[in-house]
């Protein structure tokens, strides 16, 4: 039986290509389907980029692995089958990954979005809220009703950051804007997302965005109802030829190449690696025709200011929903403070939890 396994492995390696050097096996674990046209899709695009750009790398992946008993077993199996670099791509995998990392010190782990490290576990993420801020600027310039709608899954820091950044961006160019938030309590429930979009539009929102698994549902409803939309996770402009403004999208590939390279050549660092607009790990998508040339320029100027570090999204004053000043003028929130964000800013209408 062992022999049969070896033959199977050998044939699959041979089929892949004729490797010159020993292949590094890289494993990915996704919390949802890799074809969700959202978060997991973006991570998987990174995996494909890795395969395309590094000749000596072979990848395997697991999809639909919940953040429970399953993930630790899956990581162990990966390691036992020879995977040397593991990408646990969901936040809730962190503690499970730390446990497996401790057991296998020679294997490298790169966790997406966590705030804990160990000797062989680093974290990577991208400050996509910068792109959400810029999308907010575009929304603030475009809206006629001064009401924006945000369809959100769960009140976790990554989502709160995006709601707040989007709102701050919009209010930076249009102080009268408010953002209404509806929680769907699920990462993926197309019916609920569509109905939430309808509810927001009927209440007067004329720009919709969201943070759920896939932007397709709310973007399509917005288009059908003749309002504007801002995407998230993946470019959904083809679903809204009329109303698409812009969107915030991931680009994990180059970052993942760096991580795997560092594991291969021994320069691996146990750190919090964070990409941003400048490194290109988080990007602004192309603009839709609904954004005027002038407004596009305003957004791009602001983008330049962020890249030049002249402007920071989380520079004070940051004011909470109830008017409390959380960050005073002149102060800037640290990485850790933004990554554990647990408040909604002034201008957001909706419950926190």
């Amino acid at each position: 039986m062992k022999k049969a396994i070896r033959t199977l492995l050998a044939t699959s390696i041979l089929a892949a290509s004729l490797p010159v050097a020993a292949e590094t096996k890289v494993g990915f674990i996704y919390v949802g389907p890799k074809t969700d046209y959202g978060y997991n899709y973006a991570q998987d695009q990174g995996r494909l980029y890795l395969e395309e750009h590094l000749d000596d790398v072979e990848t395997v992946y697991f999809e639909n692995i919940p953040e429970n008993a399953d993930v630790q077993r899956v990581m162990e199996r990966m390691v036992r089958s020879g995977v040397e670099v593991v990408f646990p791509t969901s936040y809730g995998y962190l503690d499970h990954a730390l446990k497996v990392a401790e057991k296998y010190p020679e294997v490298h782990f790169a966790h997406s979005g966590g705030l804990k490290t160990s000797d062989n576990l680093m974290t990577y993420f991208a400050e996509i809220d910068q792109a959400m801020y810029l999308s907010g600027v575009a929304a603030g310039l475009t809206t006629e009703t001064n009401q924006l709608g945000f369809i959100a899954a769960h009140p976790i820091p990554q989502v709160l950051r995006n709601i707040n950044a989007f709102t701050r961006g919009a209010r930076s160019v249009n102080p009268d804007v408010t953002t209404s938030v509806i929680w769907t309590s699920s990462w993926s429930d197309p019916t609920k997302e569509a109905e939430a979009a309808e509810a927001l539009i009927s209440d007067g929102a004329d720009v919709l965005t969201g943070h759920v698994d896939s932007p397709i549902n709310y973007v399509q409803v917005a288009e059908r109802r003749g309002v504007y939309s801002v995407g998230y996770h993946a470019d959904a402009s083809q679903f809204a030829p009329e109303g698409w403004l812009v969107g915030a999208v991931w680009n994990w590939g180059p970052m993942m190449v760096d991580i795997v390279n560092s594991a291969q050549d021994g320069t691996w660092k146990s750190e919090h690696l964070r990409g941003d607009l400048l490194t290109g790990a988080a990007r602004l998508s192309d603009f839709g025709s609904a954004v005027s040339e002038e407004d596009q320029q305003t957004v791009l100027d602001r983008q330049q200011a962020i890249m030049d570090e002249e402007f920071r999204v989380w520079a004070g004053p940051v004011v909470a929903q109830d008017g409390t000043v959380l960050v005073a003028e002149g102060d800037v929130m640290t990485l850790e403070e933004t990554e554990k964000m647990d408040f909604l800013v002034e201008g957001v209408e909706g419950r926190l939890k």
């Binding site: 049969a4 199977l8 699959s12 429970n68 630790q72 976790i156 820091p157």
Partner: protein, 352 residues
């Protein structure tokens, strides 16, 4: 030759005509179906099937992980099988599991500073109370208002999952969890014992013991006899002093209690805290196993191990063949369909 072998042949035939034959036919059909499924999807069937078997039972690690999966399946299957003894069709294992985790965690949070000898029993008591509550409610709805228990347990599953989401995102969220929706980590005293440096935990022991005790109670005790009478004719039972209503509440409560234990075991041992996504469909799998076992408590034990193995070994499908996760669901469904078909046909043949 004929005279010597004839009794053996006859014995063999009789064996094949009975349950053993049915099991053989089921196994063979399932293996063929699985191989065909792999082949249709362009995979090398036999090595992949071997890989799956290895992934479930091939080495001590794989087997230990199979047992980790087994524990919640076993307990939720019992939560279905016990009410079925009274003719009740409960599909509420998932919700009861979540409620057990919820109440058990509540007990841990309330008594977090207490020593382990006090904390652990409190946690388990809380879990049992929570699971039992989610069993008693449909029981009461059934006996008092005549609400169909299948429907009420079904609806309450969704409520149970949402209640856990509510507490971990809201009142019970650990303020130091960096914003992540989860309770504080359980203290040492609230972690159920594990065995041999694996993740196999007390939950499995609870399940096996419960299955044996239930089997004895139902087959040997007065109460068990009462269940049978009550089930076949509640009115006859009532004249003999057996209250159908009370028995409904008892079986629903005890079933829920067991599923509740599964919930707290997952939270305590696997997650070390309460958070979303505690279990993924254990309730439905448990339901399946209970039916595969014909609601027979002892048969549930090996079948839970097999089902745990099937689910745990489905990793191989992704790892070696890059088949999507859904292929495990398809195999699970095929297995269930085959077992149902063969078992029903066998039963019909025996009647005929």
């Amino acid at each position: 030759m004929t005279t010597i072998t004839q009794p053996f042949v006859r014995f063999g035939l009789r064996l094949l005509g009975g349950p053993t034959g049915a099991v053989l036919v089921m196994t063979a059909t399932f293996v063929v179906a699985a191989l065909a499924f792999f082949a249709i999807n362009g995979r090398e069937s036999i090595p992949l099937f071997q890989e799956m078997v290895m992934g479930a039972f091939g080495d001590s690690y794989s087997f230990s992980e199979t047992l980790v999966k087994t524990a919640p399946i076993l307990l939720t299957a019992l939560a279905v099988a016990l009410p079925a003894r009274l003719g009740l069709i409960s599909v509420g294992g998932e919700g009861q599991l979540y409620l057990g985790a919820l109440f058990g965690t509540g007990a841990v949070l309330a008594a977090v500073d207490q020593p382990g000898w006090l904390l652990m029993p409190l946690m388990l008591a809380g879990a049992m109370a929570g699971g039992a509550l989610w069993g008693v409610i449909p029981g009461l709805l059934k006996t008092r208002l005549g609400v169909n228990e299948t429907i009420s347990t079904l609806l309450l599953n969704y409520v149970g999952v949402l209640l856990v989401s509510f507490v971990v995102h809201g009142p019970w969220k650990n303020p130091n969890s960096l914003g992540w929706p989860a309770t504080i980590e359980f203290p040492e005293g609230a972690i159920l014992p594990q065995f041999f440096d694996t993740r196999v935990h007390m939950g499995l022991v609870f399940g096996v013991v419960a299955a044996i005790v239930l089997h004895i109670l139902v087959t040997r005790s007065r109460w068990g006899l009462g269940l049978q009478v009550s089930r076949s004719n509640p009115r006859v039972g009532a004249t003999a002093g057996i209250s159908y209503e009370r028995n409904v509440l008892i079986v629903m409560a005890v079933g829920g209690l067991l599923a509740g234990l599964a919930g707290i075991a997952e939270a305590s041992v696997i997650q070390n805290r309460l958070q979303d996504g505690l279990a993924s469909g254990y309730g439905m799998t448990g339901f399946l196993v209970a039916w595969l076992a014909g609601q027979h408590f002892l048969r549930i034990i090996p079948l839970s191990v097999l089902m745990g193995g099937l689910l745990a070994s489905a990793d191989s499908l992704q790892l070696y063949a890059q088949l999507p996760k859904a292929s495990a669901d398809i195999l699970q469904a095929l297995l269930f369909i085959i077992v149902l078909a063969v078992a029903s046909l066998w039963a019909r043949r025996r009647e005929a």
